[in-house]
């Protein structure tokens, strides 16, 4: 697998890795056909404290060079995925991301460009949903919360910009007002100039497309320094760890996660209990997704081993066993999973969370069946 395991993304990266480890441990305990065992090879795509596409690409090459690697779980971030997909596509190896949500990874011209080495084959899947689904859901949640006037800020990265674009489009379509938009530069420390400008527009809330590490945390924190502490702040699944940077100042933050709420799904209760028992901590925002992604990969590999007469299957044989329709869905803590022809899940769910007293609490969820 490839994830950001150090630096600003470390906490989400590590809890995601733990989801993978749990799925692998469980599969090994149940016994793998042919007497094989699964192992997790964890590579970190962080450089200088931030997830890095070049590092991700180099990690994926390392994994592909190892013949015993039959599937890759990861990456966490969309811009890293965009650098990795052409490589995994060329190698024909299954890659499943728990959380890379940018539309262009699976949809439209951008995705076609990523698959240009092997245009007829898709090797990239994701168990999360897409930016456009998440952005539209966020627009609906905002209006449900009676937040009608938005100022939109994004970090100019693949994920953040896409999310902000879709949110802006759908929020306007549903009757909200977008007062203005801004992009922030990497490594910015002072957001007060930007916030003072936004203050002049008197918005109901700020929508942020980006992650805690690309500016979300400091933006939220510095809102208090310019007298905007009471204003609502909303973002996508890039900011569930915002309380670690903004502390008590994170209260009043809303965020969406492109997955069902694990505590509420009966199938998920067992996962949550097993996770807590093994790692002694609460599940991270993408632990369940990582577990699900790993389950899908394991199920495909095990089926491929069976059809190959209990011998080591090829990467192409594993790819052929990825679930494609309701009949061979894999049951996971985030619901039954199968993929459409683009590599996206067929039954997406988006949840809304709010931060209160420094802790995340679940508010509502939307089922988006296309």
């Amino acid at each position: 697998m490839d994830l950001p395991l150090s630096g600003a993304d470390a906490s989400v990266g590590t809890s995601t890795l733990d989801g993978i480890k749990l799925a692998v441990a469980r599969a090994n305990a149940q016994g793998v056909p042919g007497g094989f065992t699964f192992a997790v090879q964890a590579l970190d795509d962080t450089q200088q404290g931030v997830h890095n596409p070049q590092q991700g690409a180099s990690n994926v090459r390392t994994l592909i060079a190892d013949d015993s690697v039959l599937a890759i779980i990861g990456p966490y971030n969309s811009n890293v995925a965009a650098a990795e997909i052409p490589i995994t596509n060329q190698a024909g190896i299954v890659q499943i991301s728990p959380s890379a949500v940018s539309d262009g990874l699976t949809l439209g011209k951008d995705a076609a460009m990523l698959r240009r080495a092997n245009p007829g084959v898709n090797t990239f899947f994701r168990v999360c949903t897409t930016d456009s689904r998440q952005g539209s859901a966020a627009a609906r949640f905002a209006l449900d919360l009676k937040l009608k006037r938005a100022y939109i800020v994004d970090d100019n990265e693949t994920y953040g910009l896409d999310l902000a674009n879709v949110f802006a489009r759908d929020f306007t379509k549903l009757g909200g007002t977008v007062l203005g938009r801004d992009h922030i530069a990497p490594d910015t420390q002072d957001f007060k100039a930007l916030l003072l400008k936004i203050k002049g527009y008197k918005p109901d809330f700020i929508f942020f497309g980006g992650t805690t590490s690309t500016g979300g945390g400091l933006l939220r924190r510095q809102m208090f320094d310019v007298g905007m502490g009471k204003l609502a702040f909303m973002g996508g699944d890039g900011i569930p760890d915002i309380a670690e940077v903004a502390k008590k100042r994170a209260d009043g933050t809303y965020y969406t996660v492109a997955a069902p709420n694990a505590d509420r799904l009966p199938a998920a209760k067992r996962f949550v209990a097993a996770y807590k028992a093994r790692f002694g901590s609460d599940v991270g925002p993408y632990s369940a997704n990582a577990y699900a992604a790993t389950q899908v990969a394991i199920s495909a590999i095990e089926q491929a081993i069976e059809t190959n007469g209990k011998k080591m299957p090829t990467r192409a044989e594993v790819l052929a066993k990825i679930p494609r329709n309701a009949k061979n869905e894999v049951l996971t803590p985030i619901g039954p999973i199968s993929f459409d022809k683009n590599g996206d899940v067929r039954k997406p769910v988006i949840s809304l969370y709010a931060i209160r007293n420094g802790r995340s609490s679940f508010i509502e969820q939307l089922n988006l069946s296309e």
Partner: protein
Amino acid sequence: MHEFLAQLANGVELGAIYALIALGYTLVYGILELINFAHGDVYTFGSFVALGILVGLRAAGALHGAGLVLGITAALVAAILASALLNAGIERLAYRRLRKAPRLAPLITAIGVSFILENLIELWQGSAPVPFPNVIPNPQLQFGELEVGVQQIVVVALAIVTMVALHFFVQRSKLGKAMRAVAQDRDAASLVGINVDRTIAMTFLIAGALAGVAGFVGGVSFGSAWFLNGFGAGLRAFTAAVLGGIGNIAGAMLGGFLIGLLESFSTWLIGGQWSNVAVFSVLILVLVFRPSGLLGETLPEKV
């Protein structure tokens, strides 16, 4: 008007931090003609020392009433001492033995020291940004059209007091005179009995102390400390020093405030993603059209 004044105040706050860091570049350049690229990381170090003290005191429950003022003072003093000693240590270990080497050697060494410090700080504090405690109460005050936070006033006031103190130190004290003498002509200064090594060490100590003040006010102002903070802030402060005229003390202060204002106003008027472009365009323009900087010619005496 209200917004203009708010951006002005923010620009001055940012500028005060850049000016403090820029002074460190300029002092060292003045005396050694060396761009101390590790200076930004000394600033980061100061920030983390202040943060450590404040977190420790808060955990001990000492940050209440009079303890708050004492705690803030302790954090500030610790940041100043730690940064000053670190900077002087760098000079002693890395630069002193290269004093007679070609100018490129200490310059590359400075870049190396910068990488070493960044990585050591990462090992010490991890690579994620660490939240800086909100110790200074920050109610917003209204002065007519101008709205400023108490925290902003503290940051700017601390910076200005520090700069005034530096000015008097360099102009009036015996050591300040020695610094100016060594800057003008090292050999002549040693002929009249000035201990050159000690004077240079003293300059690094003072430059480090300024970085310590900047580290404290920067942490307060931005609300976080990060092992790579010094890189970005250092580059902007370096730009400020060049803009004002590298080696010139008044120039570094002027340049710092101008760069802070430029960053604030470019974010307001053309958008946040362009503020770096605006700042570093200034660096290029100054280097091309006025390499001596704004005050470089009118005040030829350097320190």
